[in-house]
């Protein structure tokens, strides 16, 4: 009986970690690399404080806030979608992923408008180090968003099934974890580029 309860508790502990082990390795690896990016921004700020402060003042905070809200809201929709798929799989769950994709597309459109406004105002990656980091790092993040949208489209298709195997649930969770990573990276970039 004791052995059985130990086994049960092990199973319970296992199921508490969402997604596959591999996605967590991926998240850790990506965070490690973005940490290098964050350090570069911080070093640039320390070395060229005046240029960074002046350039930061030219950013439109409204674009940054809108993008942050879009990604946070999108993450909420995706999390609800995954939870619904886990508890009661049905074709109706796709709406949550659809809303998540809508938020992601909104982010991309907003980013295009923001970049366009900056380029029209005469700012480009060669203007100074701040704008170099701004365009390149938000560009690399944008690639993450586009990959994430592809992942969400895959999850949307999967969520329409009336029954999901344990492995399919794990795949759903892994996809959602990637989307949350995109969210987390943006929050860090937003803080470093727009706020601090």
């Amino acid at each position: 009986m004791v052995e059985l309860s130990n086994a049960d508790s092990k199973v319970e502990m296992k199921t508490q970690i969402p997604g596959e082990a591999g996605i967590w390795a991926f998240v850790a690896g990506d965070l490690l690399v973005f940490s290098v990016f964050f350090i570069l921004i911080a070093l640039g700020h320390a070395e060229q404080t005046d240029i960074f402060e002046a350039s930061r003042g030219t950013l439109d905070l409204r674009f940054g806030i809108a993008n942050t809200l879009l990604l946070l809201t999108g993450s909420l929709f995706v999390a609800i979608g995954v939870e619904r798929c886990r508890s009661m799989p049905s074709g109706k769950n796709k709406q949550w992923f659809f809303l998540g994709i809508g938020c992601g597309v909104g982010f991309v459109v907003n980013k295009i408008f923001e970049w366009n406004a900056k380029i029209e105002a005469g700012y480009s990656p060669v203007t100074n180090d701040f704008y170099m980091y701004f365009f390149i790092f938000t560009g690399i993040h944008l690639i993450h968003v586009l990959v994430g949208l592809g992942v969400l489209l895959f999850l949307l298709r999967m969520s329409q099934r009336s029954s999901l195997s344990a492995r399919e649930i794990q795949t759903l969770e892994s996809g959602a974890i990637f989307w949350h990573l995109v969210d987390l990276l943006w929050i860090m970039l937003f803080a470093l580029l727009y706020l601090l």
Binding site: G22, V33, F37, P125, I136
Partner: protein, 242 residues
Amino acid sequence: MNETAIPSSSSDALFRKTLAFCGYTGYAAIVLFIIGGVWLGGMLPALPHANDLPSEIVAKVSENLFEIRIGSIFMIASFALFGTFGAGMAMQTRRCETQPGFSYVQLVFSSMGTTIALLVAFAWALMVFRPETYHPSILLMWADFAYFLALFSVPLFGGWCVMVALPIFLAEEGKEPFPRWAAYVNLWAVLLFAPGQMVMFFKDGPFSWHGVVAMWIPFVAFFVWIAVMSFLMIRIAQTEDS
């Protein structure tokens, strides 16, 4: 007929030995690059810089002529082993396919990747072949050429990783050629190679071909990828042996 038939057990043993061999060549490629590219050849960290004047490149190269020449020999030996390393991954992928698919695609990427990598070593060697005769700007061009081959070729090396990851993700449960976490490592590597394409736009700073983002991150990710996949090939061979 019986004389030519190969017993399945011995052919499996040969396969396992071949797979382990391919894995060890991945390790050998890393060691040879560390000797040739890092210690002697001045490729990582970059001895010449993208913002150097041609005369500065000539001075740097001339001061380290012998080391770079020896380093180039080690580098070309390292890069040639990408072929056996890639073939090993394709072999293991082929085992899990009913009909050949991704294994063949991997072989194409592996061949192209090996060719491009060999050209890196060629460019590096030609840079030090007769620097006293070449116009200084030619030396700069060889250095540009070497780093562009290595870093700007993101779709090739990234595509190779994707072709390793996809058959893992798409395989039936329990029939994956490599553990599923390896697929994520491959995708992670793709993301890290991506900043390499920034070398087109910058001649100074972290996005230039001597910079931390465009050079260090893709180079380190590439060799970590080789180490991980080599480890897995050797482990699969050893596990099946035991």
